[in-house]
Amino acid sequence: MKILEVQDLKKVYTTRFNLNKCEALRSVSFSVEQGEFVAIMGESGSGKSTLLNIIASLLKQTAGYVGLAGKNIAEIKDSQLSAFRRDHLGFVFQDFNLLDNFSVKDNMLLPMVLAQKPYDLMLQRVQEVAALLKITDLLEKFPYEISGGEKQRTAIGRAIITNPELLLADEPTGALDSKASERILRLFQQINETGQTILMVTHSVRAASKAKRVLFIKDGQVFNEIYKAEQTDDAFYQKIMNTLAVMTNGGE
């Protein structure tokens, strides 16, 4: 089953006082199946953040189609957009985006509270998720009292607590040291094994090598895609490196 389908996606930025147009996405097409773990790679300015923002319905595309859980996101009314985002998507950001005024538990519960779920269910879910992420001891702490890795685990907890169809991660290890990064990425794999579909944007080869499939974006287009299949993380890492090398050379 296709969770996400992107066809011929195009995004052009126009500055208000300037007629110069900037084409962030020229024509992007790909799809993500249920249970996949896909990484999108590309250099800075390749349009990968734009792509993620459009999928997250935080930005509107200029042209093309984005279907999420069988629904055309361009057709969702503004008034229902937030609810849609809440019910179908989970977000993990580079800078965690936790709220200082909420405890770890409350940060994780935020989407469920917004969705007006019953408290018993919330409590049960927060325990399950915390156990999975190994942050049960931190539940009553506040974001400014815990480490970066712990913050990101909290953010992951917040993203998956509603069992979203798609988990979107934007450079989830960008603000972490290598040890914490490694733990976070292993967590992603673990979550993926439970059946959670993940779409991750990154320019870290190490991070991408944890995914099952890697899409390469260059100049607003999908340049290549490679599958991990039965390879080990290290072998896949080498393959990604090679592809990147080809991509860099090919561009010149």
Partner: protein, 678 residues
């Protein structure tokens, strides 16, 4: 030089970029300067018009007002500056990281400061001069100066204003430089937030707050003695201010935490967000809210009290002067001065062509008394001065002949008194006592009459209603006789006689009569001192006093109001900046625009109306003690305090609400700016 020019440019563009912060700061500095200048200038004008009766009273009020404006200006400029700097820390940190040395940043700050100081002082002075005449006319109208005072701009106040504000801005600069010097650029960059530490003893502090406010309220309600009220008023105010601070900082958090514990309530979308962000905000901003509350109280109390005093002036004058003229002299046997004066006045009246009406004379004896057990002891040796200082129970007694009762109270009652009986006016000290000692003889108190309105037989002052009683005896001559035998007593006083009358006639004739009477007063020799006074002579002083007070009240009231508004504005600004990030995150996680608006609205309403509602409760309670304070010197509020207070509250609330609408608009703009979501 070229280098310096760069910093001038930098400073200029900084101010431009931070318009939203700088313009209100600059505007308010300007207005404060204008206020300060006018206060001093008006004082000079009044001082220079020596021919105006009561000018020193008004001048001293204005001088006092000037000092208050100065103090407020200092507090305000520092407060506004701290907000400004808080919002700019990131920017200053960035300069450091971009390679500007601290001394360069200091130079930039110096130039900015010079620019703001120079332009706000100059424009404030110009504004002050432009509106000076208007203020002057308003004051002259309130004070009812008959004499033409010219409006002049004196150079003294200009220099004073420049000096005071220059020093103030210099201090601000020094303060900013020190803060900047003490912080590393990196710290400046991320200086905003990371949740403050949980304050300790939260519950205890909250309880202390409740206790302080309760104690303040208790004092305000139970202090019945007006002289004590003067002392206790400031104590009560202090308690309530401290209590408000505690309650806002700790009490609110305790309350919100209780809400948080209620899971059914807390885990609902809007409650969830607003409760926790209010806790967060309260920790940071409760002081600001408490300040707003206290300032609001000041505005309301100042304006309504001075308005009451001004509004009740004619009535106070009537109370103090039941007739147009009053004369009092010591009663001596060898000479019937009443006859002499009456014939003299008759002669003057004929000369001037006016008629004397409502004439009335009486004789009386005044002395001190205090209660010991069941007896009101007359100025005896047991008289304890310490108790008298403590104001507990000593009374000034005025003994009048019983037949004057109807004139004094303007009321007819049956007054058949035995020789050893008295009628006494109502007073808490008199309650339950049966015996009054007058000049050694004990009289039985037959009846206590309510002292509703004593028609000013004595000068009305604080002692009037609470520390003074009026006593009626059947035979006043006997009292005088007793008094004469008691002359060795060091506390003995002498009997007095007094004459009250109105006059009728045309204006010119009355003026002629007035001159003749005034001449009499001046001719009296020391030995036969005559106390002669007229309502008209006192009116000017009354207007000078109450009008001056009212003017200062409105003047300071509007300044307090201005400060309140600005504090609100700056608070909204800096909170808006903080909330923006939070709402961006919330919206990414799935809070809809409509929900966000609802939450923001809920928060704003709470933050806005908490101080207002608290202030209204405070001043409502303060009414009790203010009522008593007004007895001192003004002889009461004549039923005007309550309506004036209510009116002031309504006007204030309307202005406050307008400010709310205005600043919440800015707040929404700040919070929504840079939100990619639709």
């Amino acid at each position: 030089m070229k280098g310096n020019f760069f910093y001038v440019q930098l400073a200029k563009s900084n101010i431009k970029r931070n318009e939203r912060n700088f313009i209100p700061f600059w505007l308010s500095c300007m207005i404060v300067v204008a206020f300060f200048f006018n206060m001093l200038n008006l004082k000079q004008i009044v001082e220079h018009s020596e021919d105006v009766y009561g000018n020193t009273t008004v001048a001293s009020f204005l001088g006092f007002g000037g000092v208050i404006v100065g103090i407020l200006a200092a507090i305000f400029v520092f407060y506004a500056n701290s907000f400004l700097m808080k919002n700019r820390k990131k920017e200053l940190g960035l300069y450091g990281i971009l390679g500007l040395e601290k001394r360069h940043v200091a130079l930039m700050l110096l130039i900015e400061n010079l620019f703001i100081a120079g332009s706000s002082i100059i424009s404030g002075l110009l504004l002050g001069m432009a509106f000076g005449k208007l203020l002057f006319l308003a004051m002259a109208k309130l004070i009812q100066y008959a004499v033409n005072m010219p409006f002049t701009i004196y150079t003294g106040p200009i220099w004073w204003t420049i000096a005071v504000f220059a020093v103030l801005f210099l201090l601000v600069l020094v303060f900013n430089l020190i803060t900047m010097h003490l912080t590393e650029p990196v710290e400046l960059l991320k200086s905003k937030n990371h949740g403050e530490k949980q304050p300790r003893f939260l519950r205890l502090t909250a309880m202390a707050g409740f206790f302080c406010i309760g104690a303040g309220y208790y004092i305000a309600i139970t202090t019945t003695n007006p002289l004590k009220a003067i002392l206790m008023f400031f104590f009560a105010v202090l308690l309530v201010i401290v209590g408000t601070h505690y309650l806002f900082t700790a009490g609110s958090v305790v309350f919100l935490k209780m809400l948080k514990k209620n899971q059914k309530f807390y885990y609902r979308p809007t409650n969830f967000i607003s409760t926790s962000s209010l806790i967060y905000r309260m920790r940071k901003n409760a002081t600001g809210l408490a300040n707003i509350c206290v300032l609001s109280c000041m505005v309301i109390v100042t304006v309504s009290t001075t308005a009451t005093v001004y509004g009740s002036m004619e009535k106070a004058l009537d109370k103090r002067f039941p007739r147009d003229y009053q004369m009092e002299w010591t009663l001596r046997e060898e000479k019937d001065r009443l006859k002499i004066y009456q014939s003299l006045l008759g002669k003057y009246a004929d000369q001037a062509g006016v008629t004397i009406t409502d004439e009335y004379s009486t004789r009386s004896l005044g002395f001190m008394t205090m209660p010991i057990n069941d007896v009101l002891v007359r100025d005896a040796n047991e008289f304890n001065t310490m108790d008298a200082m403590g104001l507990d129970g000593f009374l000034w007694v005025n003994v009048y002949p019983a037949q004057d009762f109807s004139v004094i109270f303007e009321e007819e009652i049956d007054i058949s008194l035995a020789k050893d009986e008295v009628i006494v006016s109502e007073n808490p000290v008199v309650n339950n006592r049966q015996i009054l000692n007058i000049a050694g003889k004990e009289y039985r108190i037959k009846k206590i009459v309510p002292m509703k309105e004593i028609k000013g037989l004595e000068e009305a002052n604080v002692l009037d209603d609470l520390l003074q009683i009026v006593v009626f005896v059947a035979d006043i001559e006997e009292v005088f006789e007793l008094q004469k035998q008691d002359q060795e007593n060091p506390h003995a006083s002498t009997p007095e006689e007094s004459l009250y009358f109105n006059i009728k006639g045309n204006k010119e004739n009355i003026a002629t009569f007035d001159r003749l009477v005034m001449a009499t007063r001046n001719n009296e020799n020391e030995d036969e001192r005559l106390r002669l006074d007229s309502k008209e002579w006192n009116r000017a002083e009354y207007y000078g006093f109450t009008g001056g007070l009212y003017f200062i009240g409105i003047f300071l009231g509007s300044l307090f109001l201005l400060l309140t508004v600005l504090i609100i504005y700056f608070k909204q600004m800096s909170e808006g900046e903080e909330d923006r990030e939070r709402f961006q995150i919330l919206m990414k996680v799935g809070l809809s625009h409509a929900e966000a608006k609802k939450v923001i609205h809920k928060q704003l309403v709470m933050m806005f109306f908490l101080p207002l509602v608290t202030a209204i409760i405070h001043v409502t309670v303060a009414r009790f003690i203010i009522e008593r304070l007004l007895l001192v010197g003004f002889g009461g509020n004549y039923g005007l305090l309550t309506p004036y207070l209510a009116l002031t509250i309504v006007i204030f609330a309307v202005i406050y609400f307008t400010v709310y609408l205005w600043t919440s608009k800015t707040y929404y703009q700040i919070v929504n700016s840079g939100n990619g979501t639709h």
